[in-house]
Amino acid sequence: MSGQIGNQPTPPEAEGPLLLDIAEVSKRFPVGKTGWLSGKSHSLVHAVDDVSLTLARGETLGLVGESGCGKSTLVRLLARLTDPTSGSIRFGTRELSAIPAKDFARDPDRARIQIVFQDAGESINPRFTAADAIADPLRQLQGLTGDTLRQKVEEAATLCGLPLELLARFPHQLSGGQRARVGIARAIGPRPDLLVLDEPTAALDVSVQVTILQLLVSLRESLGISYVFVSHDLNVVRLLCDRVVVMYLGRIVEVGPARAVFDAPLHPYTRGLVAAVPRLDGVRADALRLVGDPKSPIDPDPNACRFHGRCPIGTDRCGVEMPELRRFAGGRQAACHYAEEAPA
């Protein structure tokens, strides 16, 4: 189905192999209302804290972690929907962190970074038909109108396996899988270089999920897009992603090739996470259990490991010294004082 479509992604050759290079990015949200008279509030949610990572051209990066650990915030930062509190976001050769999110809407690079949102239904304006939704970015970002626009819309829809007769429907008249396809079609319409997918299949049945994942793979092949893929489902991440980033309470705790990370996690949190994933082949009686809840992301202790207190192998050291993200063999990194002691 991709053969019929002219596919000209626009990565200028000179830009080098790294598509995205973000360094020491943090995002903090003030909590409590900054009332008119109450002055500035001093409590901050450290949603994303000192995160650095890179994404190579054509690579698919998985992002996993507990709910509320900052995955969405991070991808919103790199999609330039919100402004980072600090840090740099380099897209190709361009530094984007200095451009306010407000102005980025009209930036020439806007079309090159697109997002597919978690809840496809909610991310489509209920007053738009599928065609309107897909056309919107094309019209706004590339100034297309009339027949060209329609043609492009249909092209994108076809690419995503969306029957053209569904284009006239409103979101509530579409099934979950179809909505997900509309969301993807809308995002790939402007032919982005980077597609951020924030839990695109979380609300779907397995069977629909499979087709969406396979669609993503085929789009990646035909359009040469790089993905940042956020998911709760480690099995899916493993299937789709080249590399995986594990976050915990706003910080990266482990990075590495997906298979390696899941087969032999270095960080105790990753270990607990992997152990908790249910498997078709039955329960493991000895599986590691992470009891308790994460700490509050509000004003966390800068000198303590965020996992301290819940960590099965933590020591007093973890309470006073924040572990750095260290490099390990096989292109892996982990932020734990005791990562070496990981069982093989």
Binding site: A105, R110, I113, Q114, F117, P137
Partner: protein
């Protein structure tokens, strides 16, 4: 499941006979407003003191008033003005209040603060007295009554529009629109505004009734539309003094008409609310 809004409306109406009834009434009122003046049997302004205060009869269906004017004709002809006042004031406050609420909810920050203060200030006034003061200060002309009614409804619209906007400010489709290259105003007017429209329409329907009542109250105080223009509020206010003396029809018919109109708008508003209520969508 229905495919169109119209179809949806149809089944809500059939499911809810009261709303259907209100809709029928509404259509009647609109017809009266449009064609009323050319249909009525008497000149609504023509006095006939020889036939003053006649009880309802075959000749004068609703009787006659103090100076012998035909109440039926006056009541029917008044529809246009009353609906006009209500519609105009509601349209006014819809435009300004709705937009202010939209902006306030969407941008937050100081814009929100300023708009919030303005509507707080209005809310802190006893609203009817504020309307009176505005009309008294600017003169009791129809535009001023419209304006006053609009102003006192302002906070309500700001509140509703703001709440709805805040709910949608973080919605996925707003982000999606940003990603699609819309800037703030584009998102606000192109994406958020159409989505809060249904609930605003409900609001409008409910405040239409209130606007009519408000105009009637002003008339009672003596600050309403100028004589001899027929207007329900004035007619009720004038007729009110005849209730005790037994000429009940002078106040009753305009009162009933007023009540029916307000009633109709309120029921319609409730019905519309059910129609736009997402929980009721299948």
């Amino acid at each position: 499941m229905s495919d169109t809004a119209l179809g949806h409306a149809r089944h809500v109406v059939t499911e809810n006979p009261v709303t259907g009834f209100a809709l029928a009434l509404f259509i009647l009122f609109v017809l009266a407003a449009i064609f009323g003046p050319s249909l009525v049997p008497y000149d609504p302004l023509a006095s006939d003191t020889a036939n003053a205060l006649q009880a309802p009869s075959g000749q004068h269906w609703f009787g006659t008033d103090q100076i012998g004017r035909d109440i039926f004709s006056r009541v029917v002809v008044a529809t246009r003005l009353d609906l006009g006042i209500a519609a105009a004031s509601v349209a006014l406050v819809f435009a300004f209040g709705g937009f202010a609420g939209l902006v306030s909810g969407f941008f937050g920050g100081w814009v929100d603060q300023v708009i919030g203060r303005v509507s707080d200030t209005i809310m802190a006034f006893p609203l009817f007295v504020l309307a009176m003061a505005i009309v008294a200060a600017l003169g009791n002309t129809v535009p001023n009554i419209v304006l006053a009614t609009g102003i006192i409804n302002f906070p309500l619209y700001v509140r509703v529009a703001r709440a709805e906007t805040v709910q949608r400010r973080e919605a996925g489709f707003v982000d999606a629109a940003r990603i699609a290259g819309h800037r703030d105003m584009g998102v606000l007017l192109g994406q958020v505004a159409p989505n809060i429209m249904p609930i605003m329409v409900v609001q409008m329907s409910l405040t239409m009734g209130y606007a009519i009542l408000n105009a009637a109250g002003l008339s009672f105080i003596g600050l309403g539309v100028r004589a001899p223009t027929p207007e329900w509020g004035i007619m009720v206010a004038e007729g009110a003094s005849f209730i005790v003396s037994g000429e009940w029809w002078v106040a009753l018919f305009p009162g009933a008409m007023l009540m029916t109109a307000v009633f109709c708008f309120n029921l319609l508003g409730d019905g519309l609310r059910d129609i736009v209520d997402p929980r009721r969508r299948t």
